[in-house]
């Protein structure tokens, strides 16, 4: 019976982390139309920055986390201004081919970041000192307090994002831009400002998700690929362009992985989710709640 609770709690924590990362990924696709294949690298960069801050500058866990988030934010803005925006506006590439070029460029960019991190910090796994230490007993299961903290922070972040998008004027403009860019332009909103805002929010989300992940597991530059893969698997499952869909899919995937790891073997943890993804792509490529 304890296994059941362990799965429930562990699964919830990891799903929440996935949800946070996937939400950002879905947001960028929904509003900006970009599948950012450097997603995982941005998260890893945030973790490594937080770790490096703790390691070389000997700052406390809170400061380290803040530095990690700041790095995530900066890299996200860089990604937009250096890689994505020039390609979106260039005249050298046919419109139909732009999507593919942007995909390739973000992939390249992600690998570049990954290699740079490996060069300066080696590819050994790093963990970040958790903000919350110790162990709590929930329903008889000994759980690291950190897991609870992670789940809470993720939930808070997603809630704040929801409030932002659904209750503020600026947030609603962003939501409207994702539904109908021309419509919102005709209402006097500069799309370029919307894009910058969205990538900024994304940067913060990615930074927070990365740092939390680093407190949870060991992260190395090798993790970048699988992290991107899991984010887009989740977003495709939930339906490209649907943030609620991504949220639901994150929990589906998170729990699938946890159940597999506990009941079958940790080595096979990613397989069921991938198989589900293949099935979805064959049968219902739109995903759960997909729009586009």
């Amino acid at each position: 019976m304890t296994v059941f609770w362990q799965i429930l709690i562990d699964g919830f924590a990891i799903s929440s982390l996935y949800a946070l990362g996937a939400t950002g990924f879905a947001l960028i696709f929904g509003v900006s139309g970009v599948l950012n294949l450097s997603h995982g690298s941005l998260m890893v960069a945030a973790v490594v920055a937080a770790w490096a801050a703790g390691d070389s500058l000997h700052v406390g866990p809170y400061t380290g986390a803040a530095i990690g988030v700041a790095v995530g934010f900066s890299l996200s803005m860089l990604t937009y201004f250096v890689v994505v925006s020039p390609l979106q506006h260039t005249r050298k590439i046919r419109e139909e081919e732009k999507e593919i070029f942007i995909l390739t460029a973000t992939l390249l960019w992600g690998i570049m970041i990954q290699q740079l991190i490996a060069y300066f910090y080696t590819d050994n796994a790093k963990t970040v000192a958790p903000i919350v230490q110790g162990v709590i007993k929930i329903v008889g299961v000994r759980t690291p307090a950190n897991e609870i903290f992670t789940a809470i922070v993720c939930g808070l972040a997603i809630a704040i994002l929801w409030l932002l998008v659904n209750r503020t004027r600026a947030g609603k403009a962003v939501l409207a831009a994702s539904m109908n860019p021309r419509g919102i332009t005709l209402l006097g909103v500069e799309l370029s400002q919307v894009y910058v805002a969205v990538w900024a929010i994304y940067g913060v989300l990615v930074g927070v998700a990365g740092v939390l992940l680093g407190m949870f597991l060991g992260i190395s530059s090798y993790s970048a690929g699988p992290l991107t893969a899991s984010a887009f698997s989740i977003v495709v499952l939930g339906g490209l362009g649907s943030v609620p869909g991504a949220l639901i899919a994150a929990y589906v995937v998170g729990y699938l992985e946890t159940i597999t790891a506990y009941l079958i073997s940790p080595a096979y943890r990613t397989i069921p989710a991938l198989l589900l993804l293949v099935a979805v792509m064959y049968v219902r490529p739109r995903g759960l709640l997909g729009r586009r």
């Binding site: 593919i100 992939l107 390249l108 570049m112 290699q115 490209l240 397989i271 198989l275 792509m281």
Partner: protein, 307 residues
Amino acid sequence: MQIPTARLLLIGLGAIVLASFLPLWASGYILGLLTIAYYFGVFAMAWDLLFGFAGEVNFGPTFLIGVGAYTAGILDNLYQPPIWLCIAAGTAAAITGGLVLALPALRLRGPYFGLTTLVAVLILQNLIVVDAHLTGGEIGLTVPDVISISDTTNYLIALWFMAISGAILFSLSRSPVGLILQASGQDAVQAGALGFNVTKHKLTAFVISAFFSGLAGTLMVFYLGSASVGTFIDITVGVQIIISAVLGGRRTILGAVLGAIFLIAMSEALRPLGDLSNFIVFGMALIVVLIYPNGFFGLLTRTREDV
């Protein structure tokens, strides 16, 4: 202004013949490097055919290559049949993989197909790591047989294999069938209205791309004497293949070879910098994508009509 097919083939033949004399003074190290580059050239040409001519972006060319390479390698490990049988089996497996990949392709639009190909690679990677007893897992697989231990022999085999593959693929691209494939890729509705069975042609493009990818992959296994996730399957390898084709010039077929040689040579030259070498190479590739999306060949044959 398109350089006429016959002239390009002649220039190519000349270059190949010259290259055949390289073993006379080049070291084993350089020959080995070029051997890998030539196989990579075939990977990139096969990718270019699928992209340029069937209009499908394959983000996981290593799926087809890996299926071919590992099938051949595992077969050799288990039963030690003659090498040519392993090669044939590997290629057949790759073609099957190509058909499997083609099925969703013909139904999916836009980024979905690209993602499917990425997912295919991930699944293959996971399967290989998980079935370590068969595949050698993350460490890799060694095969008992190799084609030859002579650097020169291996080099010449790779060179002429690439030459013949290139000639076939290039002639295909310039032939009437190539024209139909281009039409199918650029505008499927129009191609149908002109009387072409687009599905049939796209499937064929997949099979051809899979054939050459798989064959090159199996040959490379029996050159290296080993296969691992890092050399055949990893996304990084796939990206290098795509970059080779893009650097050389999309839809030129021959450009892909130039791109592959450049990439491998560059990576090797920068090796002393360690992990930074990859960073620089990919950085250059990014700059090309951003500023010169038409690649080498694109710069050479640039016309104002081309966007």
